[in-house]
Subunit: 559 residues, 2 copies
Amino acid sequence: MTITNKDKLIIFDTTLRDGEQSPGVTLTVNEKIEIAKQLSRLGVDILEAGFPVASQGDFDAVQRIANEVGPLMVGREAIGKPITIAGLARAVPADIQRCYDAIANAPLKRIHTFLATSDIHLEHKLKITRDECVKRAVAAVTFARTLVTDVEFSPEDAGRSDQDFLCTVLSAVIEAGATTLNIPDTVGYNMPEEYGSMIKYLITNTKGSDKVIWSAHCHNDLGLATANTLSGICNGIRQVEVTINGIGERAGNTAMEEVVMAVHTHPDFFPVYHTINTTLFFRISQLVSSLSGMVVQPNKAIVGANAFLHESGIHQDGVLKNKQTYEIISPETVGANTANLVLGKHSGRAAFRSRLQELGFGELTEEEFQVAFNSFKTLADSKKRVTEQDLIALLSDQVSSSAGENTTYTIKSLQVVSGTSFATATVQLQNTQTGDVLIDAAIGKSGPIEAVFLAIQRLVGKKIRLLKFDITAVGQGVDALGQVSVKIAEGSASGASSDNEDSITETENKNAGLNEATYHGHGADSDIIQAATKAYLNAINRLIANESKRILGERKVDV
Amino acid sequence: MTITNKDKLIIFDTTLRDGEQSPGVTLTVNEKIEIAKQLSRLGVDILEAGFPVASQGDFDAVQRIANEVGPLMVGREAIGKPITIAGLARAVPADIQRCYDAIANAPLKRIHTFLATSDIHLEHKLKITRDECVKRAVAAVTFARTLVTDVEFSPEDAGRSDQDFLCTVLSAVIEAGATTLNIPDTVGYNMPEEYGSMIKYLITNTKGSDKVIWSAHCHNDLGLATANTLSGICNGIRQVEVTINGIGERAGNTAMEEVVMAVHTHPDFFPVYHTINTTLFFRISQLVSSLSGMVVQPNKAIVGANAFLHESGIHQDGVLKNKQTYEIISPETVGANTANLVLGKHSGRAAFRSRLQELGFGELTEEEFQVAFNSFKTLADSKKRVTEQDLIALLSDQVSSSAGENTTYTIKSLQVVSGTSFATATVQLQNTQTGDVLIDAAIGKSGPIEAVFLAIQRLVGKKIRLLKFDITAVGQGVDALGQVSVKIAEGSASGASSDNEDSITETENKNAGLNEATYHGHGADSDIIQAATKAYLNAINRLIANESKRILGERKVDV
């Protein structure tokens, strides 16, 4: 890369914070750490690991990421420093202190504090005046600077805020010591031209604007997050807040892969360069999709399954004659060759270990490696070619159900009979704590998966509501790995539990409005019924683990 | 809607042409007609129905759409005229004549002819000079105007063409009688500013530019199709070429719902108004997704399952206090309330019929209605609430397997035994042509679905390769409808058939490069194994139907 007279584009990834706010997505600590490691290898500059005050679970996750991923240098040799760990905090001292406590051990750390500045938010949500808003913002930044040197401030709903008032707030927080100012288009309403003009206006009219980094944070409600972010870059933005696959609330956040590849393919158009290892995009996209259960549509730009496939004869002919006629990015640039044969049933431990290293799963313990190798062997037995996609799915499955979390029940055996009438399932579970082996059967009117779920409910002696059930096929062919993700809650349909005494605030808890714990489970198998069974039991084990914690007097944990 | 001093934005839908070029998507004629009817109700101005010269199947589909959908006025009362049926044609007389023959019976019709104008395409693909390019374009438009009054011309790869040469070509085709000029960014490379500037430059420097409608056709390779199209509108574009869900080759085309809703939510920003019935967006999005097998990711703007869901406590609180804090579009505006209860097991024929009418499936024959009602009753028996989403999935299923296509085999019964070891399936089929009932069993190493597919292969006596296998769950809960779509070809893995004597040209056939027929099948059922069985048999019936046609001496048909 030849770099002259250009600024570096700083990549601030918020997959684990804003991305994890996608409806139905709940990542466990192990899952978050795996994603964080991959983001570090990818070359992300700043990783927003969570919102520590939201729950004990969020705090623990941010702390473990700060401790375990904060110091890593693997894949970052060229960048020369580890990833910065950021935590989110409202503009109140308790949030900021809690955020600092979570990130304290990271070699590089940032506190990201925010406060709404639009009149509609001040009036209806915060019920404060503009003056109080400025005071609160300054106080928050001042306090954060007593803890760390790297402080980011975001005026929430900047897109609908009065621009001159925004300049007042921003000038004040720069003076208070903020080092990065982030301008969110919280509701995804701006047109690219409008967003770019707003950035230009703010940079021109904010006192001390040349002392800070300006950052863009766009939402995709009208499908314009990438365009708005790029328009920002043309007008002075040097940090972009993005997520892998563009996941996030509603229609999501800006997709990292789209912004980076736009800059990558237009070196003369943008005043910035990037230091992301683009060849890892496809893999990390699949990992995030597996663990979050958020499907990537085939026509998704850059990382969709079809992104590099040419169907029509005219295009195929063009590509054969000269690649440039229809290709602006080669699939290799983003690592989109994961359907390649990687391993077969005769592949040994050495080959398997070397593939894992390539995929960034090189740091498994010997025990974890053995579990992964056994799963691989079982899979290789039932399908001829084990692809990179399959391995990522298998390993995601292992991360989701891995040690360090309590596994109360494991499957001993499963038998299903189904057909054109009712389905019957017989399930045998082992309780790993007591050693008991339980067996029972149930019928399902809607097919074998319902039968399995009902049999498991009988065995664990709980009423479970299924809130979400997603199936996707990884790879092609009948032996494609089926991936199932489920979300459950305890209780029967009408009886939502209302014990919210553990909530940290009345309204700011992640599940406010519902006030009940939900549990996510994930399973992968070439047999779709077994994948569903694994996912369901995975979620139930999490529910049981959380119950024991609560009995032991811990705070409510968002699992 | 108050309309003053604004031009109407003309919506040109190409879901059935460029959208159907998505890898792995092949729609049957019945499926295309169903989508076309819904597009007409939606208020689309021009419907590109296909590329008639590509195959006999394409020709037949365009002709039936011209005949059956061309005259419809349902839902178009406010627009005052039926939908214009367009067909695509290369800039050669045979294509243009064939296109005219297909659309001839539509009350309003358009020929859309195209020719590449970038040097890279002229040199490497067409191997002609710039002078020859102008001559060929003028000749094509002149000939098309002898057949119809409405002629659109597209300079392919305009984004990388020399702009002055483009003006020369465009001035010449205006003089030859073109009424719409469409400027494609074929490879999705342009930045919004660049695309807008190009449009402005072309309109300023093309002779007679005020006599024609200027049209945008953008691709989404960098995630910027919507932004480029909108930038075009700000610079003089008055027709947009779009698809539902943004489906299309590689990363797809511009999504209609995104462009229309950007205009809808920014009445003061854009110099245009639209006449689309936005409340139908969600339904038609689901219909296209079901029939094409192209999944819509949950974080897709406007039509994604999460597009209107708020997860974080802060946002939920904001929404409860004042909807406007986080909502720029109400779910009702785009019809995103399909999870509502619509029908239960006690609902009768009248209620069912009235729901079908609301969903735009009101024109079923009495026989088709009876089949649909029976499927509904079966479903209602296994789940409490039958939602709008379920009905769309059921009806899509019926469209896919409906009468008018030969159904050789039907399922008599199915029995599956599976579990922690091998799966076994016993399948009983009836051959509707001979009346024979066949039964056989097979085992599947990868689970029950493989066992079913292998048993069916034995029964029909064919080697089938499975090229694609997708599962999605419609709705939530364990009784969600499973939708399976498969793509198959005849032969064992290595033996791709090479008889391409029926290809219309050496390189332009849709399956050029593969030269083999592929068949798509679709099935929906709350039992995932039954859904897979239906999909597989649906595809096999199409394969068999096509074989009989070929034996009867017909041309190769893209099914």
